[in-house]
Amino acid sequence: MKDTVLEVTNLVTKFKSADGLLPAVRGASFSVKKGETLCIVGESGCGKSITALSIMGLLPSNGLITDGSITFNDQNLASMSPKKMQKLRGNDVSMIFQEPMTALNPVFTIGFQIREPLLIHQKLSKKQAHARGIELLKMVGIPSPAERMNQYPHELSGGMRQRVMIAIALSCNPSLLIADEPTTALDVTIQAQIIDLLNDLKEQLDMSMIMITHDMGVVAEIADRVIVMYAGEVIEEGRVEEIFENPQHPYTKGLLSSVPNVDDPDFELKPIAGSMPMLNEKISGCRFHPRCPYAFDKCFSESPKTFSVTDKQNVRCWLQEEVEQNGGRRASSL
């Protein structure tokens, strides 16, 4: 398909550790289309950031991609030279990192940091870069942008710093923007501003976006499609409506009933027992089985296959096999 911007197939990313090579991403596959927003959700440690960093070629030094392919506009990023990757990062793909407070350099002005990529990658003159920088700050809704160019990061609020990060990420007109928890550290009123901003910009610039978050509310506001990760694996994917209205994986369902509903005074909270396993824990069969209320014999020994629920929704769970055998596609009664 021509309108696919990014295609990740069977990605395996491992870390070197005292216990040997430990996989943090275990065979993840997904794609992003032009103009589409894909959300990656899941709890802390499930591999969201490492998946993103694998795409960007920015893994920590002890991490490496051991299998799979990452195809971005017909180029395989998994085998690209660091030099070419660097060029790509300045031109076609950019990322907003998880920790906004540390991502800006405290000793340089905002202006310096926003001009830098424009000088290097877009080959603008200093004057042009300055003017473009002001334009970008204005685009992300920063008041008096010209004055901000001379200020240092600590003189800005958290929400403003996050906007600067977005402005810098957009400076190269990327066709793909990866945003790793861009609103997590912010207050809800500021978070709402940033979500609106990202949605507006995406429309204006017709770019594709991968948004990483653990907040199901943010997902509902911004996603076209969603992948749910658990312990390094993609366990469910689907259109945003499918994930919220007809989730199939017990973990996806559990996630949705673990978040108290602000609009429902009688919401019944149903926690998932246990917690996310560590990388070095050995788990046979389905990696969710120690926490799964529906686990049965097969789950303990065999890793589940991926089953299709609809043309867009896929789930990795043995329960789906029974659903298929019983005539398929009945609405979940679990």
């Binding site: 929400g159 009123t189 509902a220 409506e241 978040v259 108290p260």
Partner: protein, 324 residues
């Protein structure tokens, strides 16, 4: 949850201002008005939520009413006793009644101390139980918060975030307090673990007739857990109401904006969001008049000069706003 309208703790016009020093002589240049005039009755058995944006003074309020910060102004009346000016010695029996659960209990645990020993400390300070009995108590506590006997011998780094929060809770309830300030107790946890800890807090409240002051920026969790909610803005009270009234009929423009900003985990329902412009002003240089006027969508001229009075709208529902 039996809330019987009996006042456990009365907080009267409490202020906490921190000096900002500067210059060569480190003179006090100005003050951060972290908490600036809070008046509240906390009822026995209730969970009173405190919400508001980062830096609005929620944690400072919690620490101040636990006596962990000196008062700049105001009075604290616990169970009928005005403890505002008590000496540390006079305060000791009251300290036993009041505990705190922190966002990151790890920070308050000694990494070189076994969990069992850390939990025994409270019994050493506040009781004269022999070692054998103390150990029994601690094991009972561990079970009560969903941990196991063999966790006694473990060190803090061997626990997950959710387990550490359970330890923090065990420590807070160990000597049977009546009042607990929970400062963002579930904010650092994953949602599935968060839900487990919320359930635990609810169960313990019922079992031990606890009164909670629950500080959080998560308005979903607050709705789920609290009976009443106080909304703060720049150290001041802007709205106080029973939980359902606040969520169904938010009246202060700030509360309205706050509630409309929460991303809802449901698709297809497009809500009109109240868009606030501008960032939170600095608490060292708060706006004159109504503290919210720099961002308020309905501010009038007089809002910039006159501070709105705290007044009752209807039963138990209070706000500070000229226009509502």
């Amino acid at each position: 949850m039996a809330v019987d309208e009996q006042v456990l703790y009365s907080v009267k016009n409490v202020k906490k201002h921190y000096p900002i020093k500067g210059g060569m002589l480190q003179r006090v240049k100005s003050h951060v008005k972290a908490v600036d005039g809070i008046t509240l009755d906390i009822y026995r058995g209730e969970t009173l939520g405190v919400v508001g944006e980062s830096g609005c003074g929620k944690s400072t309020l919690g620490r101040t009413i636990l006596g962990l910060e000196s008062l700049t102004e105001g009075e604290l009346v616990f169970n009928g006793n005005n403890i505002s000016k008590y000496s540390p010695r006079q305060l000791k029996p009251f300290k036993k009644e009041m505990q705190m659960i922190f966002q990151d209990p790890y920070a308050s645990l000694n990494p070189k101390q076994r969990i069992g020993d850390a939990l025994e400390e409270a019994f050493i300070i506040h009781t004269n139980l022999p070692a054998e009995k103390r150990r029994e108590k601690v094991i009972k506590l561990l079970n009560e918060v969903g941990l196991k006997e063999d966790h006694y011998e473990r060190y803090p780094h061997e626990f997950s975030g959710g387990q550490r929060q359970r330890i923090g809770i065990a420590r807070a309830i160990s000597i049977n307090p009546s009042f607990i300030v929970c400062d963002e107790p579930v904010s650092a946890l994953d949602v599935s673990v968060q839900a487990q800890v919320i359930k635990l807090l609810k169960d313990l409240q019922e079992k031990h007739a606890l009164t909670y002051l629950f500080v959080s920026h998560d308005l979903g969790v607050v709705r789920h857990l609290c009976n009443r909610v106080l909304v703060m803005y720049l150290g001041q009270m802007v709205e106080l109401a029973p939980v359902n009234k606040l969520y169904e009929n938010p009246t202060h423009p700030y509360t309205e904006a706050l509630l409309s900003a929460i991303p809802r985990p449901a698709v297809g329902r497009k809500r009109e969001r109240i868009r606030l412009t501008g960032d939170l002003p600095s608490p060292s240089n708060p706006p004159t008049g109504c503290p919210f006027h720099t961002r308020c969508p309905i501010a009038k001229d007089h809002c910039t000069t006159e501070k709105p009075a705290w007044r009752q709208m209807d039963d138990g529902h209070f706000i500070a706003c000229h226009e509502r």
